[in-house]
Symmetry: C2
Subunit: 887 residues, 2 copies
């Protein structure tokens, strides 16, 4: 075996994070910096993946390597594992590439057994401490390594407290603890059938294996999925000499941040406990003291610690999160890492460190997690004010933001109440496309069923409306217009509040505050704009969305979904009249009524966008989405249209589809009903001309959805151009406009070279491309996706994060083919992935020109685009040379 | 202009079909062979496509080229167009690459005008003939070139007949005809506002343009779609000196085939009319004589003609379809082409010509249209017996074959009546997956709605059951169990007969005859097998299908759809119990009941297939397809399962999907319910072991459907192998088996290299790949596809003929990637395209190992595979050299 699977701390450094895990790499780095770190070694993450590859066995060669390193550790520390003269005790701790705090297992005090504990008692001159250490070890080992029921040990302790009439663990005497150890060991033998292992080497190997195993425990799996940490990474294991914070009042343990992780303030922030081990801090029985207090209690240690903290921050160029232990007045560093922080803290730290010249603007930009910004960009509850309010219950945080309003139970009511000037929360079992109007009228949406990619969640995120989805605890009575939650009955009209960032549901009206781009965030955004190579646009069609998009720095609209414009109360009836029409003439009458409304929408949008790019997508959804499907709705429609009910019902039924996602929609509507497209084009062009007359330059980008073949694009583009030019000619003027297509059908990627002959731009619709490329419907995937996560077939939701195994290559193929035909074709993406940082990095690398996302995601996208460019500059210089023909 | 757009007949030959069209190329060939062909020239198909490219104008240069050729023709014939001394008259005829009989326009006698007709009357010494020719010319020109209403000319003729009290056209005198000409011209001027064109050159150019235009007429478009002739080909135009078969009793015209086009008998077959022009034959007013009669009437001409016929057949190595005219005792050949023929004739001619050493086996194989065979492979009505029976009505010929049976109106009745020993025809408004059991019980299926790719059509073709779909004339009363058609009311239990090859619906019971592979067909199939490089398997899961497949020469089963096995009356209940189960335990109980049934199915299938390959696909459709969706069905199910109705209804509703095609199906079922897969694997393996015990070697090929990612395949393959090996171990024996996957999701094509690491074979599911690749659902596409055909966006149905623009490249990508990983991976295709000749050619070229199709398509596929190999041999020799490392 030539590969090295174990590294002494002195052999590693901070750059070896992938191999040694975060904790191991930083322990090594601190060792190399000659900081006071207890000595030890790290079993690598590769040993862990090998453990899983070898069907959960540790290779004998790796075991020898561990024992060889143990021998070296014994030499360095001049202590020996299992020795009764001078026993070495060690901790065994997990440490993955990415921090996964508390998700995996730790064993302390390893090396103790019935004999060693006796001499340890003598050597420390503290029998109580020694036996306490041993009983803690037995508990941890039994829990972590052999998975005995923790609660049973607590029961034994409680029984002993009762019989001794004491309340606190600390009141146990050394003798009590010896008896407790006996009871623990007896219980161990009773359950396992063999004695508690006395051989420290066996203890060690079992502990290492247990840490490896804990990589695959359920909470680790959940955490990884939430944080998109690949299962394949594995964890390292750190074996380190024990130091004890619980050896008296000159000992202690604590954690500290070099700056405040919640506000970012540049001030040491942390807490410590005197005479305690790390687990006591976690247990929360004793209240720790603020780190400042250490200056009073142990001034020398405090000084040493603050020096180390400053040194580490400067060394790592980032705010540090440190663990330390003081053993009999001597400080030991047990961990340092870049500290987790709130979005606000991240911004402030970044800005201030740049001011301090500790980091560059580029480093500052790379230090902020773009996803975190999301929480700053929506209306929020005042954290301080809601801290003490218990939520009624919770659901999935499906669309961030805070909302407060009066409960309504259907979309019609939502619209009516909104029109009456009320703020409302729409509560539904689940939503469907028919609810869109009501969803748009709501401050927030609450559903009982459905996951993070349910209709409600997707639409709400697109609208930037707060949504809590899948709140399964709710007992719903939609017809009776009330629901039960947290023991309360909530009726129509009652006030509730939703936190879409946490999923919490509150009773009553809670005050919210609006988000804005100011202060540190604004500064960071300006920096980001200096470095990014991708433009950032927003998906928007309403006036508030367009305003929000501009406020957040969108450079244009990348997707205006014209169908959303037809759901308004003043137009849905006409839209339905148009759809129900049985002849071209009837349809044209309805279209003539829709024309001025649609033209007005575009005029508003163009006015707000003041000459910026606006990409308008022609009508996309299947027509039945605009129609009522319940008897009552159909009756009303029949009345409105003065038609027999049966005719209306028949027409609606004839539009029903088995697979609407793959049905009669997108450009297929233009092919069958070119008159609809002609109306939309006329509206777009007339609006642009009207603005042009007011000296506002508008260059509309007309986008054809769902294109799948060259002749289809030929046909629809011809339709568009003929109508557009006719409309321009009518005014005897000129107007620039572009015609492009969505790329969202797998076949379109294959023939992108041909499509590029006609299209002036492409915009990737990665939502549909993902659905078709994977062959699963977003609406239905919930039925089986959970099993896919459980079985680690999927590690992330392909609708949130672009799949780079199969969908990415289709996008790349289309980009390459398109550029073969038309080198400077404008390429964008307007699916939900346009707001996801890892997907943005892909789009940057793939060579797109812009991403378009929900207005609330625009700052996230600006930062993610800057980070992508900083990590992988496209090397514009070389490109320009090639273009100029100099290469 | 360097390109040549006009060719004299003497400049062309038969190989120039693409440029000169079929008629032009063959006229040229006959000219070169020095047969008696009236002189002329051909305006090329390229001139036609240029005409369309130039927005329907003829380029001036092409016009000059036409006039130059006209001058040469005038020199050769010593006649001049428009001359009153020696006038040249010409015909102007269309002629495309592929024969499109009667679809485009023809103009005869061009060159006549008011002056020329007078001298023509003198020169022919036949004024009646001359004026008759002129009035025919005016009629044709007015119809074809300026599109006047034909009927109005007939009215004028009828009025004149009435006033003259005559009945036949031939009774008009020369004077009558002169008056008629005046009336025609007056009518022309009245409608068009200008005089009938007198300039013959103008007539000529207008006629050429009219022929070009007729390429795009509605009947030509329909014919092209039916025959898959690309719109882009265009037609050529033949300008040829007129010869006249109507110059007296020493003149005539006729058509003849060198062998019988209906039986293939080696005997001149045809008919002729004395003193007539071609259009008189078509008009059918006079009854033509059998060609043999010509030997009596004009023995010398007959002899010359039979000599020419034999010479042409030998020259072309194929049966010829000829047109000829006799002008005053002189024979002129006007056309020859390979004759269309029935399937039986095609086989007989091929076999006999090989026997006569006129063609080789390879040529024989290439001379037969594989699609034609289809009509021979299903039960048929006796053509002679039904010739005089008028059908009640007709629908689309959705699945070929003949069926006769008693009418039932729902699937349940179909099953019951079948069990009672009755033959039934299932008549439905449209079918859905719930009807499958009933469809399987039926002799034939008749639907009122739905097209060639409707559910009924697709399933029926798969089952090889006769189906007439979309018979819209039917007035249906499903509840009352009767329908009206052709003025009759047909009630439940009445006998009807369906011809799935013509779409005809007959009253009463008509005798059918079974198809078999014998005689010439069997011989041709044996030849085909010698040349093809693709194996041919069948899609089959029932005993009759498997037997039929073997009878038709299938080499194995390429797709056994296990879901079809669960629809039987003895198992659907247990299947439903399994699906409704709310816990693993309940589900396992139902699965235990299904196991022996499923095992039995496989034993039967393996027994029939006697060691041939059998590819078994694991359960594929969404579970809700097995469940009742109507209240009554759910109530019965609740009773069967002894469950509350509400629970059953809730569970069924929870399985409902918005886009079931992209839903919870295929291997997704295996991931969520591995126990279902385990049951299926156990059934397959135990069945194979049971046969092995009887010394029948079975190597099951287990196929996982809907695979979309590597980890998914890892998981399901592991599940399969673990269960399979466990089952084999239980018997303490050994068994070979293969595990492979469907490739039917676009993403699977992209990652085929990774999938090939795990899969031992791939089978392309081109049905789903087409749906997902195009992004449209086969069930819903009917809503817009018609518009796509009308607007020439699509020219063929991508579900019938593999789309080679976008889907073909995905298949090719997957093939290439798969072979990169595993050079000898077995590759097949089991979508409906497996039985389509043009798609088979693609699969051959793509490098697949086999195609699998409906049993009734197996002979079609065998022939198509042979033709593919003959046209494009894969050059196995070179391949073997490469493999051996010698290249």
């Amino acid at each position: 075996m030539t590969k090295k699977f174990v590294y002494k701390f002195s052999e590693g450094n901070a750059s070896m994070r992938n191999l040694l895990g975060g904790k191991g790499a930083n322990l090594a780095e601190m060792t190399v910096l000659e900081l006071p770190v207890p000595r030890g070694f790290t079993v690598t993450t590769e040993a862990c993946t090998k453990y899983y590859d070898d069907e959960k066995t540790i290779d004998p060669d790796i075991k020898s390597e561990i024992f060889n390193n143990l021998k070296d550790l014994e030499k360095t520390t001049k202590k020996t594992l299992g020795s009764v003269e001078n026993p070495l005790l060690v901790s065994v701790r997990s440490g993955a590439r990415a921090s996964m705090p508390g998700m995996m297992d730790t064993i302390l005090n390893l090396g103790l057994n019935d004999e060693v504990v006796k001499s340890f008692a003598k050597l420390t001159n503290n029998p109580r401490f020694a036996y306490d250490s041993y009983r803690r070890f037995i508990q941890m080992f039994s829990d972590v390594v052999v998975e005995l029921d923790k609660a049973r040990f607590e029961e034994i302790i409680d029984q002993m407290k009762e019989s001794r009439k004491i309340k606190l663990d600390t009141e146990f005497t050394a003798e009590d603890l010896q008896e407790m150890i006996k009871k623990f060991k007896a219980f161990f033998k009773e359950i396992k059938g063999y004695d508690f292992p006395q051989d420290p080497k066996e203890q060690l190997i079992q502990a290492v294996e247990a840490v490896f195993r804990s990589w695959d425990n359920p909470r680790a799996n959940v955490y990884r999925k939430m944080n998109e940490i690949p299962y394949s990474w594995g964890t390292a294991v750190n074996v380190q000499e024990m130091v004890f914070g619980n050896m008296g009042d000159d000992s202690g343990t604590g954690v500290a941040f070099t700056r405040s992780p919640s506000t970012g303030e540049d001030k040491l922030f942390g807490e410590f406990l005197i005479n305690a081990q790390g687990e006591d801090v976690v247990a929360g029985i004793r209240t720790p003291m603020h780190i400042d207090k250490l200056a009073e209690v142990m001034p020398a240690v405090y000084k040493e610690f603050t020096n180390i903290a400053q040194r580490l921050e400067k060394h790592y160029h980032d705010m540090q999160d440190m663990e330390f232990t003081i053993e009999k007045g001597k400080l030991f560093m047990l961990q340092t890492r870049n500290g987790k922080r709130t979005a606000n803290a991240a911004l402030r730290i970044a800005v201030e460190m740049v001011k301090e010249n500790m980091i560059t603007q580029k480093q500052a930009l790379l230090s902020i997690d773009p996803k975190q910004l999301d929480s700053l960009l929506h209306p929020r509850f005042d954290d301080a004010k809601i801290a003490n309010i218990k939520p009624l219950g919770s659901g999935l945080p499906a669309s961030p933001g805070a909302a407060t309003g009066q409960v309504v139970f259907n979309a019609n009511d939502a619209v009516k109440w909104k029109e009456a000037g009320k703020k409302i929360i729409l509560v539904r079992l689940e939503t469907s496309p028919e609810d869109i109007e009501g969803m748009n009228a709501a401050q927030g949406i609450l559903t009982v069923r459905g996951g993070m990619t349910s209709h409600a969640a997707v639409v709400a995120r697109g609208m930037g409306v707060c949504c809590v989805a899948g709140a399964g605890e709710i007992k719903m009575d939609e017809v009776g217009k009330n629901f039960e939650l947290g023991g309360l009955n909530i009726k129509e009209g009652d006030w509730i509040s939703l936190d879409g960032s946490t999923g919490n549901i509150y009773k009553d009206k809670l005050p919210t505050q609006k988000a804005s781009l100011s202060g540190d965030l604004a500064k960071v955004m300006r920096w980001a704009d200096n470095y990014r190579e991708l433009s950032v646009r927003a998906n928007a069609e309403t006036v508030p969305d367009a305003r929000q998009a501009l406020e957040f720095g969108a450079e244009g609209i990348g997707l205006c979904r014209t169908e959303h414009m037809f759901f308004g109360a003043d137009r849905i009836k006409t839209m339905r009249e148009m759809i129900i029409a049985s002849s071209l003439e009837e349809r044209q009458i309805a279209l003539d009524k829709l024309l001025p409304l649609q033209r007005g929408d575009f005029e508003e949008l163009f006015t707000i966008m003041e000459g910026r790019s606006v990409t308008i997508r022609l009508l996309d959804p299947p027509l039945h989405e605009f129609l009522p499907h319940d008897k009552e709705g159909m009756e009303i429609l029949a009345g409105d249209l003065k038609m027999p009910y049966k005719d209306v019902a028949d027409r609606i039924s004839s539009l029903k589809e088995i697979n609407p996602m793959m049905g009669f929609r997108g450009c297929r509507l233009s092919v069958k009903y070119p008159e609809i497209t002609r109306m939309q084009i006329r509206a777009i062009i007339e609006a642009a001309l009207n603005l042009q007359a007011k000296k506002i330059t508008v260059v509309p980008e007309i986008m054809i959805p769902l294109i799948g073949s060259k002749k289809e694009l030929d046909y629809v583009k011809d339709l568009v151009i003929t109508q557009a030019n006719e409309t321009i000619m009518e005014r005897k003027t000129k107007l620039n406009y572009f015609v492009g297509s969505m790329i969202e059908i797998p076949k379109a990627c294959v023939i992108a070279d041909e499509l590029a002959e006609q299209a002036e731009f492409f915009s990737f619709g990665t939502n549909d491309l993902t659905q078709l490329g994977f062959g699963f419907s977003r609406d239905d995937a919930a039925m089986f996706l959970e099993s896919y996560y459980d079985k680690k077939i999927f590690e992330s939701d392909p609708f949130e994060k672009l799949d780079q195994e199969g969908i990415g290559p289709l996008v790349q193929m289309a980009v390459d083919k398109a550029k073969q035909t038309k080198k400077d074709i404008k390429l964008g993406i307007c699916g939900e992935h346009g707001g996801d940082p890892s997907s943005i990095e892909f789009f940057h690398l793939a060579g797109l020109d812009y991403v378009s996302c929900s207005p609330f995601r625009v700052p996230v996208a600006r930062l993610a685009a800057a980070q992508s460019a900083l990590r992988n500059p496209r090397n514009k210089f070389v490109e320009s040379l090639i273009e100029a023909g100099n290469i």
